[in-house]
């Protein structure tokens, strides 16, 4: 079973077609890059897949559940992290982990166990009792990602997770993504950094609500005779 399958998925707002009949599949354990210019329809598509927005037409299954009828089941099986909202700034690191663990119904013992592992992995044991607001941005983002996969979801959606993060931390963040993918978690990620697009197993590029290209970074570069993903992106977006 593929973690994400969509067929002709469409969302209209009035006469405006935000997402226009997109069809794609994401494989298990794959890092799938979802690119596109601002306003190309990425966020709308992502919201439909997370069960937050009802599609106008078309089909989509996430983790085997239908986006129309089983939005609740989808939410239990995915993790979500966005650049804007990630953690409660006025709660301590430990409290944030506890809270999210609690939301997903993990037992107290599991939460305790997971908190320990997580802090160890991020080397943040010393900061466990600090307020999140006191952490540098990069740490927050790493922590937010770890929290998003705390309940072992089979798919995690990341909406521009590394915006504004320094280059070193950005790479550490990707290490976490790689590691999660290595454990079989499917990663669905949007980004504006074109070099990050290259870290993905496959990428789709949306232009005006449609998926205009979908392949591995290598193949895309070959197809568009481009030197880098940046060029691919420019050729696609400008060629309209």
């Amino acid at each position: 079973m593929q973690p994400i399958v969509t067929k002709e998925l469409t969302k209209k707002f009035g006469t405006f077609i935000a997402t226009n009949a997109i069809t794609f599949e994401v494989k298990e354990g794959e890092i799938f890059g979802f690119l596109g210019a601002n306003g190309a329809g990425k966020t709308t598509a992502m919201r439909m897949l997370c069960g937050l927005l009802r599609p106008s037409s078309g089909e989509a299954k996430v983790a085997g559940f239908d986006v129309y009828k089983q939005a609740d089941r989808i939410k239990q099986n995915i993790g979500y992290m966005s650049q804007r909202f990630s953690l409660y700034e006025d709660l301590k690191v430990k409290e944030n982990i506890r809270f999210y663990g609690g939301i997903y119904g993990l037992s107290n013992n599991t939460i305790k166990e997971k908190t320990k592992q997580l802090l160890q992995k991020l080397q943040m044991e010393a900061e466990a009792d600090q307020l999140v607001s006191a952490l540098p941005l990069g740490w927050k983002q790493k922590l937010a990602f770890s929290v998003a996969i705390l309940h072992d979801p089979s798919i995690v959606f990341l909406d521009e997770p590394t915006g504004g993060v320094d280059p070193v931390t950005r790479r550490q963040f990707w290490d976490l993504i790689y590691e999660a993918a290595g454990r079989g978690v499917t990663v669905f990620v949007t980004t504006h950094y074109m070099d990050e697009a290259e870290y993905c197993d496959r990428i789709s590029i949306m232009v005006d609500g449609r998926i205009q290209a979908l392949d591995t970074p290598r193949q895309l570069k070959a197809q568009f005779q481009a030197e880098s993903m940046d060029d691919v992106f420019l050729k696609l977006a400008r060629g309209k």
Binding site: N38, G164, V165, E198, Y199, R218, D230
Partner: protein
Amino acid sequence: MKTPIVVQDVHKSFGKVKALHDISFTVNEGELFGLIGPDGAGKSTLFRILTTLLLADKGQATVNGLDVVKDYKAIRKIVGYMPGRFSLYQDLTVQENLDFFATIFNTTVAANYELIEEIYVQIAPFKDRPAGKLSGGMKQKLALCCALVHKPVVLFLDEPTTGVDPVSRKEFWEMLQRLRKKGIAILVSTPYMDEAMLCDRVALIQNGSLLEIDTPQHIIAQNNKPMWAVRAKRMYPLIQDLRSFPETESCYAFGEYLHLTLKHGEADLDKLHAYLQPKGHEEFSMHPIQAGIEDCFMELMKSEKV
């Protein structure tokens, strides 16, 4: 002609947090000067000090020869400023925003039309649309228009391209290049390292301190450590293997390659090959490359921490 921006030993703290520590640099006439660093490095604080919105704890700064503390009124007449967050009235149309900002700077859109023409024609088709309904790239162009409408001598752009897609970013930078040719000094900040190459000179900033001030070409040339681009079919195991190789100095993902530096440079190459041989990476390839600006920044960040 006075020097557009001079900053001398500027310090600024918020409580215990040192936002800026001993910052000094100069921006020359007609120069496109980049302030490159991640979020929270202190870029916005520096912009606010220079645009007279904040007072530094220590040190001096002048804009076009005017002191940022004493002559704040005079400075406010000659600078264009685009704050970090999108700062236009979302419920006013494009045209209304432009007219508004022109008027508060005591001018009209027509008076300096020649300066903004090129940008304006791109947003003109949307002039009756509320600014809040523009795409990210269009918003930035409008904001730039508004910051330029009174023909400022110095332009301050705080992260104008954050969250903007690569196409719009590229167009935005092309505009800046042309503005610079018109003699406007521009101080621009960005978290995107690749944009550093488009500046005349850059200052790399991290945790409130400047790591380096130079032309991007010079910064790259100074870094003479040999570096290799490495890839294999499966990248993650390759990263792990390379990081656990004892002679590895740094190994970071860069696009489709890993950038690798070794403690003893080329002398370690044979050892590395011997180490990787039994691991059996498929489609393995490795070639030497010239370090880019981002490599240099990461290198500088590391040495700063030590």
